[in-house]
Symmetry: C2
Subunit: 181 residues, 2 copies
C-alpha cells in the first residue's frame, strides 16, 4: 500500500507541493518528490500517477526535472521492465543538490550579466556615477556571497554540521564581535 494513503503522509505531500510553487518548482514536481521521499521502496511512474492522480506525461516531466536536480535517481528492478525511482533521503545532500542547481540556473547567469554590464559601464563616460556604483556593488556582493557558498559547500558534511550547531558562537573567532545587532 502506498504511503499516500496515510493522512499525515498525504498532508506532507500536499504541503510540499505548495512549497514547491514558491520555491521554483511546480506543484507536480514537488509532489512527486515528496512521495518518493516518503516511500521506502522504488516506485514506477504508473504508481506515482495513481498515488497523486497526475497524468503520465506530467509525471514523466516531473521525474526528468527531479533527476536534473540530482535528487531522484532511476533504479532497476530485476524482472521488471519499467523504470523505478528513488529519492535522496539524506537531507544534507538534498539541500546541497537543490541549492547548487538553483545557483547554476539563476545566480550564475546573473553574475555573468552584471559583470558584462560592469565592463560596458566602465567605457561609457556619460553614465551617472551612482548607477555604475550601484550595479558594480551588486555584482560584487552577489559574487562574494556566491564564493562563500562555494567554499563552504566544499567542506566536509560533519564540519558543516558542527558549524551549524555552533550557530552564533562562530563569532567568537572574529576579533571585536561581542555584540549582536
Amino acid at each position: 500500500m502506498g504511503v499516500e494513503k496515510y493522512p499525515e503522509a498525504l498532508e506532507f505531500i500536499l504541503h510540499w507541493g505548495e512549497m514547491g510553487t514558491h520555491w521554483g518548482a511546480n506543484r507536480s514536481v514537488a509532489q512527486v518528490h515528496a512521495l518518493l521521499f516518503l516511500s521506502d521502496q522504488p516506485l514506477d511512474a504508473e504508481a506515482i500517477c495513481e498515488a497523486l492522480d497526475l497524468a503520465r506525461s506530467n509525471v514523466s516531466t516531473a521525474l526528468k526535472e527531479l533527476q536534473g536536480y540530482g535528487i531522484v535517481r532511476r533504479t532497476h528492478i530485476p524482472g521488471d521492465r519499467r523504470d523505478h525511482f528513488v529519492a535522496e533521503t539524506e537531507l544534507w545532500d538534498l539541500f546541497m543538490a537543490i541549492t547548487a542547481e538553483r545557483k547554476r540556473r539563476e545566480i550564475d547567469p546573473t553574475i555573468t550579466k552584471l559583470g558584462e554590464l560592469k565592463d560596458r559601464m566602465a567605457a561609457n563616460k556619460d553614465l551617472p556615477a551612482h548607477v555604475r556604483d550601484r550595479i558594480g556593488r551588486m555584482h560584487e556582493f552577489i559574487s562574494t556571497l556566491t564564493s562563500w557558498y562555494e567554499q563552504v559547500r566544499g567542506l566536509k558534511k560533519s564540519t558543516l554540521i558542527s558549524l551549524m550547531k555552533m550557530g552564533a558562537k562562530v563569532a567568537r573567532f572574529i576579533p571585536g564581535s561581542k555584540e549582536a545587532t
Copy 2:
C-alpha cells in the same frame, strides 16, 4: 532624466525583473525595486509608471509589496503632495530583509506544519516507521537550519562580513576538519 534611459540601467532593470519571477516576486515588483535601487532620488508613483510603462494600479501594488519586505520606504518631499519612494541601497540590509521576510512567509509555516504532523504521527501507531522518521527528520533539519539563520543574522554586520570573507577558513576552528568533500 530617469536612469531607465541609460541602456545598462535598463538592462539591469529588465534582468532584475526576470530574476524576480524566479524568486518569489512578480516582474513588476522586481522592476520597480530595480528602478528605485538605481535612482539617486526619491521617485513618485507616476514617474515609476512612465519609466517602466506599467499601470498606475500595478505600481501601487508593487510599492506596497516592497514596503512589506521592508526594502522600500515612503518619503515626503516638501511642497509636493505626492508620495515618493526610495529603496534600501545597503546590500547587506537588503539581503537580510528579503531573507527574513521569505522565512516568515514560507519557512515558518512549514515548520509549524511539520511539527503538527510530528505530534499526530507520534499518536498514530499503524503509521509505517519510516514515514514518521522521514517527516520527523525533515522537521528537525529545517528547524536546525532556521535556528542557525536566526542566530547568525543577529551578529553584527561587520562580523558577518568578516566571516564571509574567511570562507572555508572558518573550518579551522572545528577539530578534525582538514578535508574537503
